[in-house]
């Protein structure tokens, strides 16, 4: 069940959601087993920005009903740090690397994309357009015409596959996908997290250091399915579906409404082995069962 995706040949349709699996930390924790049983057919980096970011002050997590809100704030070493420190190690992963980037405007994004384009180790680029526009406060990606303009601007900077990760916090995600397509995107991915918040049980102030955060996990699965279906029905380019996937049935749902690939996000937090099981179940490969002894 190998999948052709924008010219890349992937072993199966399961990826990670950006920011939900740190392959470098996982090497430390799981050692060689990680590479031997690498669960994703391509690895998506967390979001990289031009400048380094520390991320939001803690607390960064809130557990919701069947989900979690995160307000991590995109900590990363910045473009230079990524290229120097992370990329050489990510290049050693047994699968193609997709680098996810975010910028405050088209110019920043163009710079990030151009830098990625120059790296052989990067197989494809994902644009995270859930960044709030400084003027409107809305996600850049929430307005179709603005999104199309951004895509046109960065498209010129790379010949690598360009994936636009749409924001779900919009009235018409299919229109946004169509805008990305006409802006030259090779694929779209969705859904990112739903804007959400929580209060401190005692102080009544916002719980999260970042104020608002994004909801992920099973709670958003049926919203994701509707958005992915709407997008897949509208655009001709491939769609990467994600949101609350916990099992091969959930992945199958997304594929059946038109996704070409499926990403597993929060569920990997609960079990980093789940994506491998899902991939095996989808491809009919013998799956590593849940068992008491570590599999080696």
């Amino acid at each position: 069940m190998s999948v052709d995706f924008c010219g890349l040949t992937l072993a199966h349709p399961i990826l990670n959601g950006s920011g939900t699996f740190d392959a470098l930390a996982a090497e430390t924790v799981f050692g060689a087993e990680l590479h031997k049983r690498f669960p994703f057919s391509a690895y998506v980096s967390k979001t990289i920005t031009l400048q380094p970011r520390l991320g939001n002050p803690p607390p960064r997590l809130w557990e919701a009903a069947s989900g979690l809100i995160n307000s991590i704030g995109l900590p990363n070493r910045g473009l230079v740090g990524y290229m120097e420190h992370d990329l050489p190690r990510l290049a050693q992963l047994p699968v193609p690397l997709i680098t996810n980037v975010m910028g405050a405007d088209a110019e920043e994004l163009r710079e990030l994309v151009a830098a990625c384009d120059a790296q052989q180790a990067i197989a494809a680029i994902e644009l995270n357009v859930s960044c709030p526009n400084v003027k409107t406060g809305l996600d850049i990606g929430s307005d179709p015409s603005q999104l199309e303009a951004v895509c046109l601007a960065v498209r010129a900077a790379t010949s690598k596959p360009l994936i636009v990760k749409l924001t779900p916090n919009t009235a018409d995600v299919a229109a946004c996908a169509a805008a990305a397509e006409s802006g030259g995107a090779d694929a779209v991915s969705l859904i990112n997290t739903l804007r959400a918040t929580a209060l401190h049980p005692r102080t009544r102030a916002r719980w999260l250091g970042g104020g608002n955060g994004g909801l992920s996990g099973p709670a958003i699965r049926v919203v994701a399915l509707a958005q992915v279906a709407a997008v897949a029905a509208r655009v001709g380019i491939p769609v990467i579906g994600m949101g609350g996937v916990q099992s091969s049935e959930h992945a199958r749902d997304l594929l059946d409404v038109g996704a070409s690939l499926v990403a597993v996000g929060s569920e990997s937090f609960r079990d980093p082995g789940v994506a491998g099981r899902i991939a095996a179940e989808l491809t009919g490969a013998p799956s590593a069962p849940l068992r008491a002894s570590p599999g080696r």
Partner: protein, 270 residues
């Protein structure tokens, strides 16, 4: 950051379903034992992300959803491992009710544990409340290695202090004086430092206690390793949710850069 992990016992990649062998009361706490004979042997101070294999969810506010972090409190020769639980919310509530034969989903061992004592170094093992959990397995290791140490534990009251038996016969302080010294365990530590100013400290407990330990050790100029806590989604460095600020303003991830950290790294424990 992989540097931090040098030599740490590795976790199996993916969670494993272990059988609960015992669920015992320990003062105000519960000791949950599982059969992990097939699993990696943890280092003292390491933890695991655990969840009930069935019915994890549907509690207060439809939680828990994420697995929960627990120090590995003990590991027996037969492969039985213990977690010490304090029931504080929907996750611990569910874990506390697990019975012999039921399944526990376990990811681990995770994180950076305590370092072994340097040659000839005497250790003060300082804990409070449920924070004594990783100190039990640490003490087991110290005893096995014949390493000189003193164990100082603090509790709220007599019921909580019953858990001190987990570590044999330590010095105990209680807030209400019902057992041992009346006052804080840090007072025991200060007395100990008076006697032996060249101690090294290993501590785990509630943040105010850890902060007091940190401050005392900083003043006394003795090295301290503190086992921190932070809310965690993953436990293996992927979510970036468990951060704590370092002295230099950057953040460390408690799950991979800790939970045991050198006290010097921190401006304060909050």
């Amino acid at each position: 950051m992989s540097e931090a992990g040098a030599g740490r016992p590795l976790a199996a990649f993916g969670r494993r379903i272990l059988k609960v062998t015992r669920n015992e009361q320990l003062g105000a706490y519960r000791l949950l034992w599982v059969d992990d004979a097939a699993g990696p042997v943890p280092a003292p101070g390491q933890f695991a992300m655990i969840a009930a294999a069935e019915r994890w969810g549907g509690g207060c506010d439809e939680r828990p959803y994420l697995a929960r972090a627990f120090s590995i409190a003990r590991r027996l020769g037969n492969g039985e491992a213990a977690f010490m639980l304090e029931d504080v919310g929907p996750g611990t509530k569910r874990l506390c009710e697990l019975r012999r034969g039921e399944g526990l989903a376990v990811l681990g061992p995770l994180g950076r544990g305590f370092s072994p004592a340097a040659a000839g170094q005497r250790l003060a093992v300082v804990g409070g409340g449920v924070g004594i959990a990783p100190l039990a397995i640490l003490q087991d290791a110290l005893v096995a290695a014949g390493a000189e140490h003193v164990t100082l534990l603090g509790f709220r009251d007599r019921v909580h202090a019953e858990a001190a038996t987990l570590l044999g016969d330590p010095l105990v302080a209680t807030d209400d004086g019902s057992v041992g010294h009346q006052g804080f365990v840090t007072e025991l530590l200060e007395a100990e430092l008076q006697r032996d100013p060249r101690l090294a400290v290993r501590a785990c407990g509630p943040p105010p206690m850890l902060e007091a330990v940190r401050a005392i050790c900083a003043r006394a100029g003795v090295p301290a390793e503190l086992a921190l806590e932070a809310p965690m989604a993953c436990g293996f460095g992927s979510c970036y949710g468990c951060v704590v600020p370092r002295r230099d303003g950057s953040y460390l991830r408690v799950c991979v850069d800790g939970p045991v950290v050198d006290a010097e790294q921190l401006e304060r424990v909050a």
